[in-house]
Amino acid sequence: MTSDYQTVIGLEVHCQLKTKSKIFCGCTTQFGAAPNYNTCPVCLGMPGVLPVLNAEVLRYALRLGLALNCNIRMSSRLARKNYFYPDLPKGYQISQFDEPILEGGSVQIAVNDAEQMVALTRIHIEEDAGKLVHCGDRNESHVDYNRAGLPLLEIVSEPVMHTSDEAVAYLKAVHNIVQYIDICDGHMEQGSFRCDANVSIRPVGVDTLGTRTELKNLNSFNHVKRAIDYEISRQIDWVESGEAVVQETRLWDEKNSRTRPMRGKEEAHDYRYFADPDLLPVVVPDALLNEVRESLPELPEQRRQRYISDYELTPYDSAVLTSDKTYGPYFESVCSSGIPAKIAANWVQGELLGRLNADGKTIETSPIGSVVLGQILKRVVDGTISGKQAKRVFQRVYSGEDVEQVLADVGEQLNDPAALCPIIDKILDAHPKEVAVYLGGKTKTAGYFVGQVMRETQGNANPGVVNRLITELLENRRSAE
């Protein structure tokens, strides 16, 4: 809908860090334990306990700050955000307020081939809260503190996005980067990568921001897109009908495909932030910053540029092959066995990812490793099997058969004219009308016969050889006329 309104979107992303232990105690961060199993006096907030910052958290924050070109605060403060909720053991969340560790920075995105930078406001360190489990039928709520004290980085963007596509592109880019730098496993369904969206609309041409709503419960990229789209049209309808948008938190209701106000009373929270006296300022030693800078892996954008320049891939192929950190190493490994980059790129994007996605598998759980795929493609490159044969080999090996065995079964493709000529002659004899058309001057129809031969040979013929022989035999018939 082209509209008289411009949408403004800002995202808050919570990414759970892959540290072994929680942010302020030694409890494990492993997902899936029995409720309250991964807890101790510290993360339960028992009387007398004190927090001690996990040094890895600082390291991870620096990685992200360097990856996103943020300004790094060399001495930041952890602060207490005070509010009561049963999932919050201490009655306050340790977070950062007026002195966050990272500010500024940006994320590069591309929507419809148009590249743009999304500016960041800040990124800060904080601890996660526990989880309430409601047993509606028994009218009870239970609390699970396994998640309490997991380390988070909250990434706050500027309100600079204008469509749900931009928001999703931004979210995917952030999701990709945190996995490239290995600080977050990115499992949205497990909540280790979460997103809230602030959405507002304003008449086109107006500079001030409209009243925003905050959307929560966005557990997938798809939810993010649909929730934002729904919210935009809801706000426009609301304003068009003469009402003002109410500032509130709304939950995405997946079942009914709509957003609805969060239940319970909407209170204006006064979090009474103040520097946590139990924790010293978070100081970044120069040596640590240098060490993290030097150990920073290649980022998606750097890799994309490298694929364009070193592998001569198209920008599109490069973007696909860098959209997940596992694709690149696989692709490069295939290339390293002597496969031309374009062929390797096509196979990884096409056969491999197509099949993996269809099966809900990933590169890491792929039944075909990069070495085996290289082995198959080598036979295509040296002409001993056809592309069509290779696809059949791929599927059989994917299903668990031994690659050597399958390659031996398939044998070599038909290159021998002595074997191919009788087949071609038979086909030409069977299609006198088509032969006449060809001989009448429409030589491009030769392709029709190639297709017939390939079918007849179940794809085992070498299409190049078949093409040459068909032209020869047809021309022979012309001379014979």
Partner: protein, 488 residues
């Protein structure tokens, strides 16, 4: 066996086989039970745990194992320091049934040093108060006059030490809570430098001010006890990783050439003349012993009270948020969650705790933060600078610990502000994070003890021990003990 023996005496009698740990512990428990109806020093007495521990010590001695520097020493621990398996209430209804699942760092240290903990001492609820009358359970009496308060908030430990129920005790000091009761009960109390002793296991009142410290009848006992509990602890991010010197070595240093500063602002109109006189006499004797006494000025002193009573309640309002009835502590019998939390807190906390939570919540609120908390923090910086400047020119400062001696039970309960004024001499050390020591320096005509306070540079507890030991060596105050009627 003398119930007033010091740590060294106890240890040597143990090692020589004259007095076994079990014998001393039994005697101590007997005295504790006998004095309890009179003084009410303890919230919880751990007869079984103490005897069991004493038996282990005796077994160590019998087997020739080193039983530790506090071997067989009977200790009382303030009830805001958590003890595994032993009820820890902070003298609050909120934690009346609370049994911790871990030992505080200092408790572990005491245990390693061979001490025997006989019980948990009464205090002002969550350490908020200066008389121990804010205990949710009962008030503690001053052994020198049972109609008087022992001071607070570590009043239970002070009374237990002063009356010879235990050899030494642990207290906590947020604005004077070790030193003021030590002064009012005629014993020695030390608030170490903030960061010197781990706070892990101390139920927080105001984290940036809280510090655990020793209480004993002599400077030497306090030095030995601090030695045992001081030092870096990886579980407390604010504990400082600096070497702990040998405090016993400081005890014989003397005061020849020591520069003692006397800040005029600590001798204001509210100071009892008998207190001023006792301090002056003490200083004269130090001068005679070779110290240089010089006046210093600490112009920020008058702002300590205001700064403290914004910062401490602000931190408390946050520290006490965890008492919501969800995981531990008192839970009101209400179904709806928000109502359950507020009703649990309404029932579980006493009046003074609620007052400070409200003060602190207000001070941190949006729109008031700068005017209160922000300003109080800036004032705190000025106070710290002021003290640092003074301690550049002198080695220690000498002041009264409390402007007045022990006052009557009930005398100030209805007037919180007059109670807050009791802390006027002790707050600066907490705000600045520096160490301070209170020791007896005489008695009033009514027979109540007077306390002399020494303030030193950060991490320089040694100089405090040195000057206090030198003064103590000249006096007999620490040999006087209260006369107590023990019910048979």
């Amino acid at each position: 066996m003398d119930c007033y023996s010091g740590i060294k005496q106890v240890r040597s009698e143990l090692l020589s086989g004259d007095v076994k740990a079990t014998e001393r512990t039994k005697a101590a428990l007997k005295r504790v039970h006998a004095l309890e109806p009179l003084l009410h020093s303890f919230v919880t007495i751990d007869d079984d745990g103490a005897l069991e521990r004493a038996q282990e010590i005796d077994a160590d001695v019998a087997a020739g194992r080193d039983p530790g520097p506090l071997a067989g020493v009977v200790v009382a621990v303030k009830d805001n320091i958590v003890t595994k398996g032993l009820r820890t209430t902070a003298s609050s209804r909120m934690l009346e049934q609370y049994v911790p699942v871990f030992d505080g760092h200092v408790v572990e240290k005491l245990s390693q040093a061979g001490a025997v903990i006989v019980g948990k001492t009464n205090m002002d609820e969550f350490a908020m108060g200066s008389s121990t009358e804010n205990s949710a359970f009962f008030a503690t009496s001053n052994p020198w006059d049972t109609d008087c308060v022992p001071g607070g908030s570590s009043g239970g430990s002070a009374a237990a030490v002063a009356s010879g129920q235990v050899t030494v005790g642990l207290g906590s000091d947020t604005g004077g809570s070790i030193r003021q009761p030590a002064a009012l009960c005629g014993i020695v109390g030390v608030k170490p430098t903030w960061g010197r002793v781990s706070r892990y296991g101390l139920i927080a009142y105001a984290s940036s001010l809280d510090q655990i410290g020793p209480m004993g009848r002599t400077v030497e006992d306090c030095a030995i006890l601090l030695q045992a509990i001081a030092g870096f602890d990886a579980n407390d991010a604010t504990s400082v990783d600096v070497e702990v010197p040998n405090y016993a070595a400081a005890l014989n240093g003397g005061v020849e050439g020591l520069r003692i500063g006397v800040p005029e602002q600590y001798f204001g109109d509210g100071t009892d003349p008998e207190v001023s006189q006792a301090i002056q006499t003490a200083l004269d004797s130090m001068e005679a012993a070779g110290a240089h006494i010089q006046p210093v000025s600490l112009p920020t002193t008058e702002h300590c009270l205001a700064s403290y009573y914004v910062i401490a309640p602000a931190e408390a309002s946050s520290n006490l948020s965890r008492y919501d009835g969800v995981r531990f502590g008192h839970r009101a019998d209400v179904d709806e969650i928000a109502a359950m939390i507020s009703q649990s807190r309404a029932e579980g906390f006493g009046a003074e705790v609620k007052r400070r939570i409200m003060l602190g919540t207000y001070a941190l609120s949006a729109g008031y933060y700068e005017a209160f908390y922000g300003k109080a923090q800036r004032v705190r910086t000025l106070i710290r600078d002021d003290l640092a400047r003074a301690l550049d020119t002198v080695d220690v400062l000498a002041t009264p610990t409390s402007p007045i001696p022990a006052f009557g039970l009930g005398e100030h309960v209805s007037d919180p502000l007059s109670m807050y004024l009791m802390d006027v001499c002790t707050l600066s050390a907490n705000l600045a994070g520096i160490p301070a020591l209170s020791q007896p320096c005489g008695f009033t005509s009514a027979g109540l003890p007077v306390g002399l306070q020494w303030l030193g540079r950060a991490f320089d507890e040694s100089t405090l021990f040195r000057v206090a030991a030198a003064y103590e060596a000249q006096t007999r105050w620490h040999h006087r003990h209260p006369s107590l009627e023990i019910a048979s």
